[in-house]
């Protein structure tokens, strides 16, 4: 029995892993139609900041939940002001520019921090469920993924800022006529998207080897989740993460990671053929 429970926990962790990876990208790509190929490197930057500040004595949780999002958010705003601002509406150029940015970040972090930095061990140790032991940190991840989704949903749904952001992204010209300084909204939205990715990077730092080139492992998964999710941000990312996370983990349990990954890709492929606009292109049409 507890083996089944372990599998369920494992799937929930995989889902929250995808949610954390993809929500920052959902904001930047899903909402702003900017292809951010440097998304993996933003995660890496979040990881690095968490570790560097922890090694410098800052409490791990503050480093992870405050410093990482803050610094990566500010970095995001700088990137938006100097690069992305010229590329709105030119979705392909944003791809090429951000691919250059990702190379630059890998090289830059190697120059500044070097490529071997002592990591931080996973806090809170293990907890035993039946005959098995699972890192307690899993529940922290699941918790934060849920909180993150809830936070973004409520900001977009209930706050004035959320409304302005959504309006601007849907029709910038109309938003201008209503007196909204759209350039500020773009800057802020890109900043928040980067901050969310920084937070995700921070949360994942204790679980992975943090090196300058770690980003490449995450960029594929994040894009596929956001694209499969489709237009609406919250419902799309959530439904896609759940579907893809469950299938990939299920297959991994049954046959092993190779077929787990292949299953995830095949599901995405079939979904894209059946629902070209992504899950929320058709179902949950009106949701956020």
């Amino acid at each position: 029995m507890d083996y089944v429970l372990i599998i369920v926990i494992e799937m929930l962790r995989a889902i929250s892993w995808l949610v954390l990876l993809a929500s920052g990208l959902a904001i930047i790509f899903g909402m702003m139609r900017v292809i951010n190929f440097a998304h993996g490197e933003f995660l890496m930057l979040g990881g690095y900041i968490t570790i560097m500040s922890h090694n410098a004595g800052v409490n791990l949780w503050i480093a992870m939940l405050v410093l990482a999002p803050l610094c990566v958010g500010i970095f995001g705003i700088l990137v938006e002001r100097f690069i992305i601002r010229f590329l709105y509406g030119r979705i392909l150029d944003s791809l090429l520019a951000t691919w250059g940015l990702s190379l630059l970040m890998v090289g830059g972090v190697t120059l500044v921090f070097g490529n071997t930095v002592q990591g931080v061990s996973t806090p809170l140790g293990g907890v035993s469920i039946g005959a098995y032991q699972v890192p307690f940190y899993n529940f922290v991840l699941i918790g934060f993924a849920a909180v993150l989704m809830l936070a973004i949903w409520s900001v977009l749904k209930f706050t004035k800022a959320g409304l302005i952001a959504r309006a601007t992204m849907q029709n910038p010209d109309m938003a201008e006529t209503l007196g909204i300084r759209t350039s500020w909204v773009y800057m802020a939205t890109f900043g928040i998207g980067s901050a969310v990715t920084g937070l995700a990077g921070g949360l994942l730092a204790p679980l992975t080897g943090v090196v300058p080139s770690m980003g490449v492992n995450f960029v594929g998964q994040s894009f596929i989740t956001v694209i499969t999710g489709g237009a609406s941000m919250i419902a799309g990312t959530l439904s896609a993460s759940t579907l893809l996370g469950t299938i990939s983990q299920g297959m991994t349990f049954l046959t092993g990671p190779v077929y787990g990954d292949a299953a995830l890709l095949l599901t995405a492929l079939v979904l894209l053929r059946v629902l070209p606009q992504g899950i929320t292109g058709r179902i949950f049409k009106k949701s956020l």
């Binding site: 090429l96 250059g100 190379l103 830059g108 694209i227 190779v258 890709l265 053929r273 070209p276």
Partner: protein, 348 residues
């Protein structure tokens, strides 16, 4: 005034350069330069495959590496088993073309929008990359050829003169053969583009609705264009395999697809000569960077790419042409302002 191929100076200039390089090159250059330029020729054919389907068919493929790798592995497996390279080389065009047609049917008859089209091609390449990487065990071999997984397939036969299996091409002959292939591919593409089929494809690129309102079945057109592009990419993969006598899953990597995108974007979408220019410049640049130990090479390459996008929005060739036109105008102040000579951006 119909823009027939015969009257297009750009075409003849490219053809002239190509033939000159092909015949004079081996006499002038040493073995090392020949080997290096052969690599640029192979990558130029690869860049042309994307330049054609994207620039002239409006199909943006994020996964051109899938066909490059498929062509390379098809050639490797076939030539190792058959022991002769002419049939495998033909296979390396036909198999990817057939796969491209099948994938094209799957995509274009599914009414996918452009961005999702890009993603589907990316996902297909990722699947190839994952599966090929998994073929490491001894049980994964086709006939005598071990797929070899991450370590790839070593000692792939060198291209031999058709008919005589033992007459392997020496580097100079291989260079001339590849140069010939590049010229033929460029010629065929220009002919297709100038033909009615090409005109319709450009029409589809401009406005799909109008093309279907004229009665053209745009889905069938796109499948054909995509298949042609896939075949060319597959052939360039085979050229790569026989040039290096080694192939590994990196031929299917995301980086290989991204490189094609960069070359076509940097060179100028909607041109054929632009991407070739971009291949030579960018490959030479990353080679040069490797020998100069300034900062970290990833850092510099990234900065250059970003600079390219922000400073040359329309790509290298169109910007150079614009620069040339502007200088030409400034030089001739007495030209009247109406500038009747502003010719439509020709498809070089």
């Amino acid at each position: 005034m119909e823009k027939t191929l015969a009257k297009d100076i750009g075409f003849w200039v490219m053809l002239g350069i190509g033939l000159a390089v092909m015949f004079i090159g081996p006499m002038v250059w040493g073995l090392f330069e020949i080997m290096q330029i052969t690599q640029y020729v192979v990558l130029s054919v690869y860049a042309l495959s994307l330049a054609y389907i994207w620039g002239f068919g409006g199909i943006l493929s994020f996964g051109q590496a899938a066909f490059f790798g498929l062509g390379a592995y098809t050639f490797a497996v076939a030539s190792i088993n058959i022991g002769e390279t002419t049939v495998p080389f033909a296979l390396s065009f036909l198999l990817p073309a057939a796969f491209g047609a099948a994938l094209g049917y799957f995509m274009f008859y599914g009414r996918l929008s452009d961005v999702y089209l890009g993603v589907v091609t990316m996902v297909v390449t990722l699947i190839f990359w994952k599966l090929i990487n998994h073929t490491a065990g001894p049980e994964y071999s086709i006939g005598a050829a071990r797929l070899g997984g991450f370590n790839g397939i070593p000692s792939i036969p060198i291209l031999n003169v058709p008919g005589d299996a033992k007459a392997w091409l020496d580097p100079a002959q291989m260079f001339q053969a590849f140069m010939g292939i590049l010229i033929i591919v460029y010629l065929c593409l220009r002919l297709i583009i100038a033909s009615d089929f090409g005109r319709v494809s450009v029409g589809i690129r401009e406005n799909e609705t109008r093309a279907s309102l004229l009665g053209y079945d745009i889905r069938r057109h796109k499948v054909i264009i995509f298949a042609i592009g896939s075949g060319i990419a597959g052939m360039s993969g085979a050229m790569w395999a026989t040039y290096q006598t080694f192939i590994d899953p990196n031929a299917f990597s995301m980086e290989m697809s991204a490189k094609a995108l960069v070359w076509v974007m940097a060179g100028g979408v909607g041109t054929l000569a632009g991407p070739i220019l971009a291949v030579i410049l960018l490959q030479w640049l990353s080679l040069k960077l490797g020998t100069m130990h300034i900062l970290n090479n990833y850092f510099i390459l990234g900065a250059i790419l970003m600079g390219l996008v922000l400073l040359l929005p329309r790509g290298l060739l169109p910007s150079l042409r614009l620069l040339a036109e502007r200088l030409w105008h400034l030089g001739r102040q007495k030209m009247d302002a109406s500038a009747a000579s502003r010719k439509a951006t020709s498809d070089v």
